[in-house]
């Protein structure tokens, strides 16, 4: 049994130690908001927060997540998250939407730390999050709008 702190709740799972957190969430706990896109840390669809840091859950073995505070899209809350989700909705960022849980997680982590991100900051924080629909124009605009919301 592995015990994980997910969205403020302790969850016991009976999985092999090397099972990535992504599959623990999706297959064992039925928390499907976190997405599988590549499995090799190349796309960011699986981004969760581990102790506040955006982390690729497809590369994080369940055993390595023990003792950390894990936040998924389902448990996202707070000022930065609200600002990001509002900006995303206001600007209709989504197309197919499959990458967007990861985009929102990455953007929230950025805004929580930096309410005045430059273009370079945005690129550094979000370049690892692929959007095959290429919603990047709106992602950039939404991050800036979210930063503004978070500042006020």
């Amino acid at each position: 049994m592995i015990s994980l702190d997910i969205n403020g709740k302790v969850r016991e799972v009976d999985v092999p130690e090397d099972m990535p957190l992504l599959w623990v969430l999706r297959d064992e706990l039925n928390m499907t908001g976190t997405k599988f896109g590549c499995g090799v840390a190349q796309c960011g669809a699986c981004t969760v927060h581990v102790d506040g840091q955006p982390t690729r859950s497809c590369q994080l073995p369940a055993s390595a997540a023990v003792g950390a505070k894990i936040t998924t899209i389902e448990g996202l809350s707070g000022k930065a998250a609200a600002a990001v989700q509002k900006a995303w909705a206001d600007l209709d960022v989504v197309q197919c939407g499959y990458c967007q849980s990861g985009q929102v997680m990455a953007a929230t982590a950025l805004i929580a730390e930096n309410q005045n991100p430059t273009d370079a900051d945005i690129e550094a924080a979000l370049d690892g999050n692929v959007c095959r629909c290429a919603t990047y124009v709106r992602i950039k605009a939404a991050v800036k709008q979210a930063a503004k919301l978070a500042r006020t």
Partner: protein, 746 residues
């Protein structure tokens, strides 16, 4: 254009419109359920004028549900894979209904080709940017019919003349008596009203929701908080997960399997050898993936592709020099070239490309007690998947229920003529059931399966030769197109391959808009076990590039400006193409050339214009070429004419995304083979466009009252050639071989 016409023709072949009884479902649970009403054949009349339209067609389609809780749900028969069709089609109904946008909902319609067939295909399916054009009439009529019934219900209840009743923002009112009611309050009474025999459709001047920039997408919240459900997220009781080991070489088959180690992986339930490969079935995805890694399989490569793409490309180039099958002929190019003052020649090559939708392919299938099945998938060709699965399971298509879910992208990949990954899951579920394990099976493709799994945009070589007279006028054009056909040997071949020419390979070239008195376009069909498929904008992905890059070279040879040269060649014959061309040029500030950057880097604009899927698009790209020859696309201005802009916000998003898709692949994407094995396996080798690659994109929509046409694909074709032309104008470098990374500029 051409694809659409052919699909329509295909529809008339495939579909026989069985006149079923008028079966309007009304009054179910107090809800008003509206159906309408377009005869399949009526789509020949593309010009059907707005105004009074009589329904009275024997094929009822269920499209609109007005519920007591005051929500209005539109049943959308097309797959929303990100293009926003759920929102677009709902807008059309809401307009005629005079609903309030906040009460509108969308839902994927059930799979039923009789009720929800695509008028261009004859079966239910999404593709060819047909959705809006396809539903424009039937959904306006459905909305108008529902509105009439709500009004008539109010008139009966309030005992006032129907023509004194007004409807606005979801409220039905009678001014003189001061009475009013919501749609929800009238739903039950309206459901008992007769279906109107005729409805009056609005004139464009009356629109308040169509063309309204402020409407949000219906999925704009659920897709930002993780609650939107994709096929990948389906979890049925007792569900098992399967992954499939497919032949690493295209055309290979299983010779022998040692599955002992795989079966020993905790969580693995079974290993099945099937005609499509070796399936590992497990309790969860991780165990299935680990199980597959532990398989030891010998493949029979006797019939497999063993060439590399370098060799194949060399063969394509050699073939391009030979005479091919006639795709277009006008005048006498041979004679014209003899009189030409200048002759320009170029050869363009295009690699295999994967679609790589963000959500890897997957589907869940459950075999039912009656021998039928229920499927959960981002289903794009329901009308093919139902009969294919029925064939596998030995049942009838009507017993195959498909739940169509939001799809995490497709770009053409989910629309296959063989139902590929859906057929795979049916085979696995059937084999398991035969062993007494009748459980829901979720088949998951990993990203590696996707990148290496074929059904690529075909490899293509274009060889083009153009002749100019002394005045710099284009007098002759010869083109050879060498590629594989994904239409040959499919049910579509009958109509889409004419006189040996695959229309999807030459569209955009054989019907080129530029006036040239002497024209010759040849088609060459190459064969390989490598599977290929339509890929966002199909033939236009390469024909528009070859045509627009070559026109720029001819313009330069003639000493002319790119926009002026194109306008000259389009003349008065193509007002919508010249319209977008002029608009994009004007908005981009074409008349004022870009100054070099502060560090001396060269900067220039490039232009491209093209018609695809009956929509018209022009791109102007602004590019900086640094001193070391690397390019950066800074800004792109796009003009689009897609008829009535139903939902401008969605149109802009599609053009932005299409622009990124076109440029992103041109920069550095290619699928290559060495000894028949795919060299790329994931997003590290097949590098997707990332945020830092994305230029600013500015989209301008032409105001129009023409029938609306699609925008899912037309944003792609001109994006890359506009960039190539900017580089050419900046430095003289010709980008003939895609991706651009081959030339070292990325």
């Amino acid at each position: 254009m051409m694809l659409r016409q052919l699909l329509r023709q295909a529809a008339s072949n495939v579909a026989e419109p069985t006149p079923s009884r008028r079966a309007f479902l009304k009054g179910t649970g107090g809800a008003l359920v509206i159906s309408a009403v377009v005869p399949l054949g009526s789509f020949a009349a593309e010009s059907a004028a707005p105004g009074i339209v009589g329904p009275a067609d024997p094929r009822p389609n269920l499209f609109v549900r007005v519920a007591k809780d005051n929500t209005v749900t539109v049943l959308v028969k097309h797959l929303d894979k990100g293009q926003g069709i759920m929102t677009g089609l709902t807008t059309i109904v809401a307009e005629e209904l005079d609903a309030d946008w906040s009460q509108m909902r969308g839902e994927h319609a059930p799979a039923d080709s009789k009720l929800y067939g695509n008028h261009f295909f004859g079966i239910q399916g999404t593709g060819g940017s047909t959705a809006v054009a396809n539903s424009w009439d039937e959904l306006r009529m459905a909305g108008a019919a529902a509105r009439t019934m709500l009004v008539n219900a109010a008139a009966a209840e309030w005992k006032v003349p129907a023509d004194q009743i007004t409807v606005a923002k979801g409220v039905v009112s009678h001014k003189a008596s001061g009475k009013s009611a919501t749609f929800g309050q009238l739903a039950e009474a309206a459901s008992k009203q007769p279906i109107p025999a005729k409805v009056t459709l609005k004139e464009p001047g009356q629109y308040s929701l169509i063309g309204n920039e402020t409407l949000h997408r219906l999925d704009h919240v659920s897709k930002t908080n993780g609650t939107a459900i994709f096929a990948m997220d389906i979890r049925r009781p007792n569900q098992v997960t399967a992954v499939l080991a497919r032949s690493p070489r295209f055309g290979g088959t299983v010779k022998s399997v040692d599955d002992k180690a795989a079966r020993a992986i905790p969580g693995v339930i079974d290993v099945l050898t099937l005609p499509v490969g070796v399936a590992v079935v497990a309790k969860n995805t991780w165990a299935a993936i680990k199980g597959r890694e532990a398989l030891s399989i010998q493949w029979d490569d006797a019939k497999a592709e063993k060439r590399g793409t370098d060799q194949m490309l060399a063969e394509y180039r050699a073939q391009a020099k030979k005479p091919g099958t006639k795709a277009a002929r006008k005048g006498d190019t041979g004679a014209a070239f003899k009189t030409a003052a200048k002759v320009v020649e170029a050869e363009y090559s295009f690699p295999y490309l994967a679609h790589a939708p963000m959500e890897p392919l997957n589907a869940t299938l459950e075999i039912k007690a009656d021998g039928g099945a229920e499927i959960w998938a981002g289903s794009q060709f329901q009308g093919i998947e139902q009969p294919v699965v029925a064939g596998i399971l030995g049942t009838t298509p009507d017993k195959v229920k498909i739940n169509t879910l939001w799809a995490g992208g497709s770009f053409g990949r989910r629309a296959t003529t063989t139902a590929d990954y859906i057929a795979e899951v049916a085979l696995i579920a059937k084999a398991l059931a035969a062993k007494g394990k009748k459980v829901p099976v979720h088949l998951v493709w990993t990203r590696e399966d996707d990148i290496q799994g074929g059904r690529y945009r075909p490899m293509v070589v274009h060889r083009v030769k153009g002749g100019l007279d002394k005045a710099g006028k284009l007098i002759a054009w010869e083109q050879a197109i060498v590629t594989q056909s994904f239409i040959a040997d499919t049910p579509f071949a009958q109509v889409m391959i004419k006189d040996g020419v695959d229309a999807t390979a030459v569209e955009g070239a054989s019907d080129m808009a530029y006036a040239v008195p002497n024209l010759s376009v040849d088609y060459h069909q190459m064969a390989s076990p490598v599977t290929t498929l339509w890929w966002r904008s199909v033939g236009h992905t390469h024909t528009a590039y070859a045509k627009e890059a070559f026109i720029e070279e001819l313009a330069a040879a003639a000493g002319k400006d790119g926009v002026a040269f194109r306008l000259e060649l389009l003349g008065d014959a193509h007002p919508r193409l010249t319209g977008v061309l002029k608009l994009a040029a004007e908005k981009a500030g074409w008349s004022k050339p870009l100054a070099p950057a502060a560090d001396g880097s060269k900067r220039a604009r490039g232009v491209a214009v093209h018609e695809s899927f009956s929509s018209f698009v022009a791109h102007v790209a602004e590019v900086t070429v640094s001193k070391d020859g690397k390019i950066k696309v800074d800004r792109v201005v796009v003009a689009v004419d897609c008829g009535v802009p139903v939902n401008p916000n969605v149109i802009k998003a599609q053009i932005e995304g299409g622009t990124g898709f076109g440029i992103g692949h041109a920069l550095r994407d290619q699928i290559t083979l060495t000894d028949g094995l795919v060299d790329q396996s994931n997003f590290d080798g097949y590098e997707p466009m990332r945020l830092s690659d994305m230029p600013e994109v500015e989209v301008h929509i032409v105001a129009s009252t023409a029938r609306p046409t699609g925008v899912g694909e037309p944003g792609v074709p001109t994006a890359a050639p506009a960039v190539a032309n900017a580089v050419f104008r900046a430095t003289g470098q010709k980008l003939h071989d895609l991706p651009f990374s081959k030339a070292g500029v990325v």
